[in-house]
Symmetry: C2
Subunit: 195 residues, 2 copies
Amino acid sequence: MPSPQRAAPDGVPDLTDSLDFFKALANPQRLKILGLLASRPAVVEEITAALALSPATVSHHLRVLRQAGLVSARSDQQYRLYELEERRLRQMSRELLRLENLRLGAGPFPEGAFERKVLDAFLRRGRLVGIPAQRKKREVVLRWLAGHFETERRYKEAEVNRVIGRYHEDYCTLRRELIMAKLLARDGGVYWRKS
Amino acid sequence: MPSPQRAAPDGVPDLTDSLDFFKALANPQRLKILGLLASRPAVVEEITAALALSPATVSHHLRVLRQAGLVSARSDQQYRLYELEERRLRQMSRELLRLENLRLGAGPFPEGAFERKVLDAFLRRGRLVGIPAQRKKREVVLRWLAGHFETERRYKEAEVNRVIGRYHEDYCTLRRELIMAKLLARDGGVYWRKS
DNA sequence: CTTTCGATTTGACATTTTTCGAAACATCGA
DNA sequence: TCGATGTTTCGAAAAATGTCAAATCGAAAG
């Protein structure tokens, strides 16, 4: 069984489980071992002879494979017969296909991480200390700024200037940028928040 | 592109290719990166912010993923947009299912490796220097010995003893063992090779 | 043209992984 | 019981990998 003690809660596939699986496959000797076992079950010494490795090393590799659920072992006399677990291969093959699982496994994309970083850099005590030159970052700041306008409300130009002025002295540039970014719309002297 | 320069000859899947693939997946950070990219393409800095790693490290991981064919990169302005290569995932998912590939990748089971090792240990200048006590090894030696009898030919007991005697003085024990192992059959005083 | 910014490469360091010999187990044969 | 045999565990050395800071590269902004 592939490490049931750290099963993930409730449908969220455990990243650790997949990780063990891929780690087990991420080694040439272990791939060869699986290739051998794909033909038929075998005892340690046979694998040792086939790969020119020490018994200790082969035993180690088999342990890794066993913990990944890729092989199973039966004791026969003084021997240990290792066998490929094809079910596990099929299961992980399916797992690989469903990208949804990967997505959940890593958690949802932290949509705000980049934004937060930018705002951290450009905000001091709630005020903008600069206007990013980079388009991507500027957009972040502008979206943040637009968030301080109420939706469904119409502003006179002086009101717009005052709102922006709370965060930066250059309300003139910023107001223009907000318009260009289509975050604010204007009709005559009246402004309102868009989107 | 997944390293086309070391494509394996003629249908035999390259073990190295699979190895790169699994190595790329055998790391928690890289799994997370794939999880993020499963949602949507992203630039390096976004991933950096999401994983709390240095840009250098993220860049390194992305290189590994790219060489495994798992992601592709497009240059957009000064940014680099990384995208998940779902085709590659599907392809390897299929690959994983076909154990035949694994089998070929590692080469056929060297059926004689263990046998050769045993015979190496018990043969000196073409003669048996002992009779293995272990069942498995003894069977190897007996099969080898039986190979020196012609099929479809009937031997008198004296002939059997002479043949065995070429390889070991204790033809008596060995003859009995060959019978017990059902490699030789006897009817009255006449022997013949079986199987 | 110079500066800035995002991305990559390089060099160094710490951690992990692979490997083997020696010792410990466990089972079988005598 | 004892000795032999196959396997596993332990300890240590060697190799590979992950990480970051600093240097470098390339494109965009001023």
